[in-house]
């Protein structure tokens, strides 16, 4: 029993970040109909900013660790929003609904941004101390308070996004554009503006995931790329463009990773994810909660 609880806790720990990251990717696809291979660079940028600002804040400026983290978190989101705006303005707005164009553009951006991060931060992995140290035990399962906080914050952001998409005017516009762009425009919805908002929300979600993960894992200049592959698996499983699908897919992948990693080994669990994607593409290509192409 304790073991199953521990594995479930592991699932939630891993899944919470996967969900956040994949939500951004699926939102961008849903609204703009593009594949963004540079999505991981937003995650990386936020993680790098958090690690460097925190090290500066605590070691050099003598600011309390929690306050340093707060400053770093906000700064990371702002910087990623600026990067997101720049790459949208000069790049993605010219390839809306163009899969080939967005593929080439995002691969180019990935190389450019990863190279820039390497130049600015160097290749050595960075590690920052836990903002809230200590462990907690729940039904016999152990986890760090830092991880628990991460899960709570990720859950709040996910619920917030769900409410934004389903309960606000902006969310209605995002869904309308995702459903049928031309019909949405005929209703007076400014497509390009909505696409920009969707892109910035997606980038911010990746930044949130990066800023949260920076406190629990070593940060490298390519850390976002590792999450990108998983995020693609998640949104293919959940259904491209589906918010609920991304949540479901994220938790499912985390479940496979956690239980598969325990009962088999991590490599087998990774293999199982790809097998699942292949099977799903054969039997239900639109994903679990995706809509079939009409």
């Amino acid at each position: 029993m304790e073991l199953q609880v521990q594995l479930l806790m592991n699932t939630l720990q891993i899944g919470s970040v996967y969900v956040l990251f994949a939500l951004g990717l699926t939102l961008i696809f849903g609204v703009m109909k593009i594949v963004n291979f540079a999505h991981g660079t937003f995650f990386t940028a936020a993680a790098l900013i958090v690690s460097s600002v925190m090290i500066w804040g605590v070691d050099t400026a003598g600011i309390p660790i929690w306050f340093s983290y707060l400053i770093a978190f906000v700064l990371a989101l702002l910087v990623v929003c600026v990067i997101g705006f720049v790459v949208y303005f000069f790049g993605f707005q010219h390839v809306l609904k163009d899969l080939n164009g967005s593929f080439i553009l995002s691969i180019g951006l990935l190389l450019l941004l990863n190279g820039t991060y390497l130049l600015l931060y160097g290749g050595v992995p960075r590690s920052i101390p836990a903002v809230v140290p200590g462990n907690v035990t729940f039904l016999g399962a152990s986890l760090t308070i830092q991880r628990l906080l991460l899960m709570i914050v990720a859950a709040i952001i996910t619920i917030g996004l769900y409410l934004l998409v389903h309960r606000t005017k902006l969310g209605l516009s995002l869904r309308a554009v995702a459903e049928d762009q031309e019909a949405a425009m005929l209703q007076g919805i400014p497509y390009r503006r909505v696409a920009l908002y969707g892109f910035l929300i997606g980038a911010t979600l990746a930044a949130c995931a990066g800023a949260l993960m920076a406190t629990v894992t070593p940060v490298t200049t390519v850390i976002g790329d590792d999450f990108l592959v998983k995020a693609f698996i998640i949104i293919i499983i959940g259904g491209l463009g589906s918010v609920l699908g991304a949540i479901l897919g994220g938790l499912l992948i985390a479940l496979i990773e956690s239980f598969g990693g325990y009962y088999f080994d991590p490599s087998t669990a990774t293999l199982a994810m790809f097998v699942l994607v292949i099977v799903l593409l054969i039997v239900r290509p639109q994903g679990i909660l995706g809509h079939a192409e009409r």
């Binding site: 073991l3 521990q6 594995l7 592991n10 720990q13 891993i14 390497l118 160097g122 290749g123 050595v124 992995p125 590690s127 101390p129 462990n135 152990s142 986890l143 760090t144 993960m213 894992t217 070593p218 490298t220 200049t221 390519v222 850390i223 790329d225 590792d226 999450f227 990773e257 956690s258 239980f259 598969g260 990693g261 325990y262 080994d265 991590p266 490599s267 669990a269 990774t270």
Partner: protein
């Protein structure tokens, strides 16, 4: 002065000047390094590049390498192989086909080394490497030389020492990356543990680039293994696993045969890393370190903030071996140099060293330097054992 005389004097001066330039012209000999300069294993690549730079600087400042009546100054070219085969192949193409480099003085990672070797052997270039796979050596690969100790040199004395310190330890759980390095290390490790009457109760593999280790930590903690052997895992990954194990309350013996960067490990895992045994690290500040090692280590600490170790210092040794072999062969023909390498004794950072290992690999392609066993204490690697290879002792007699 007549026009004839002016032309004669000018012509003579020009000929003299040209001859002098020809006599004193220094040739450039390009040497390459292919190592992970980014990602989880970047600490290895950066230290590796630093040690190679220092060796090149030393060789050049001491007049370069003399062979066949020419003097050669070394020029170092470093490439990021990201510790994977695809990037290893890419960097090999660049080094061997675009830059025409005939001497690779260091390559890290069995997968990228194998990718490089596929081209270097065909192109007739010498490949020094730190690859831990046995399959990269042998008569089929006469131009490949391993510049650091590998599992066949390290594991028996290393595990033996650990068992001696913890005689009650009966079980071990192994976790290692799922690539050529991990796959070739695992069977040797299992055999070695079994020979010491320690049972390997689980062997797990993970993909490089993994960031979440909770499930594997849960498995290890639940297995109640006395020892965890992290195989060929790089320090960043080991740090993440140790942190996860610590949260779960596991407190056994921690063993990292490929354990090198004590600083990185300590930074990543903090107190959870204390007491970890490292098989490829080194204490280059201690009494047993040579003056060269102390100097190199101090420079690396200042420049990179990370001490050197068995992997990173090996690029210095490769450059020194290359210099001695070229001068002994009196040629920069890679084939002649490769034939000469096993016959020489050269001055490595450890002191006199040589190439041997024909009994194990079928060809003398393995560097013979001491195996150093270290333990992480207060965040630093402290040398707890040093074993010199019997073959080297024999050669130095």
């Amino acid at each position: 002065m007549s026009m004839k005389k002016i032309i004669g004097i000018t012509g003579g001066a020009l000929i003299a000047l040209f001859s002098a330039q020809t006599t004193f012209a220094e040739e450039i000999l390009k040497v390459g390094v292919s190592a992970p300069m980014s990602g989880a294993a970047a600490a290895w690549g950066l230290g590796f590049e630093y040690a190679a730079e220092q060796a090149v600087e030393k060789v050049n400042s001491e007049g370069g390498i003399k062979a066949g009546g020419e003097t050669y100054k070394l020029e170092l070219h470093t490439y990021d192989n990201k510790y994977n085969a695809a990037e290893g192949a890419k960097t090999a193409q660049t080094m061997l086909n675009r830059e025409n480099i005939n001497f690779i003085v260091g390559s890290i990672g069995t997968a990228p080394v194998k990718a490089t070797q596929a081209l270097s052997e065909r192109k007739g270039a010498i490949l020094f490497n730190t690859g831990w796979g046995k399959s990269i050596k042998g008569p089929d690969y006469p131009l490949t030389f391993t510049q650091m100790n590998t599992p066949f040199e390290i594991l028996a004395p290393f595990y033996g020492y650990v068992k001696e310190q913890h005689p009650d330890a009966k079980t071990v759980a192994m976790i290692t990356p799922n690539d050529a390095t991990g796959q070739e290390l695992e069977p040797v490790a299992i055999d070695t543990w079994n020979n010491l009457d320690v049972e390997v109760i689980s062997t797990d593999k993970y993909e490089r680039g993994t960031t979440e280790f909770q499930s594997i930590a849960t498995k290890i903690a639940n297995s109640n293994a006395d020892i965890v052997d992290f195989g060929a895992s790089p320090p960043t990954d080991v740090g993440s696993m140790l942190k996860a194990l610590d949260v779960l309350g596991w407190d056994g013996v921690k063993v990292v045969p490929a354990g090198t960067s004590a600083g990185t490990l300590s930074k990543m895992a903090g107190a959870a890393a204390e007491g970890t045994y490292l098989g490829a690290s080194a204490d280059f500040t201690g009494d047993s370190a040579s003056d060269v090692q102390k100097e190199l280590n101090a420079g690396a600490m200042e420049k990179l903030g990370e001490a050197l170790n068995g992997i990173t210092i090996s690029s210095y040794d490769a450059v020194m071996a290359l210099k001695k072999a070229i001068e002994t062969a009196d040629s920069i023909d890679p084939k002649k140099v490769a034939e000469t390498l096993p016959t020489i004794v050269f001055e490595s950072s450890y002191g006199p060293a040589a190439f041997g290992g024909a009994d194990v690999y079928g060809n003398p392609q393995q560097i013979l330097v001491p195996v150093m066993i270290t333990q992480l204490r207060d965040g630093n690697a402290v040398e707890v054992g040093r074993i010199a290879p019997a073959e080297l002792k024999e050669r130095l007699k």
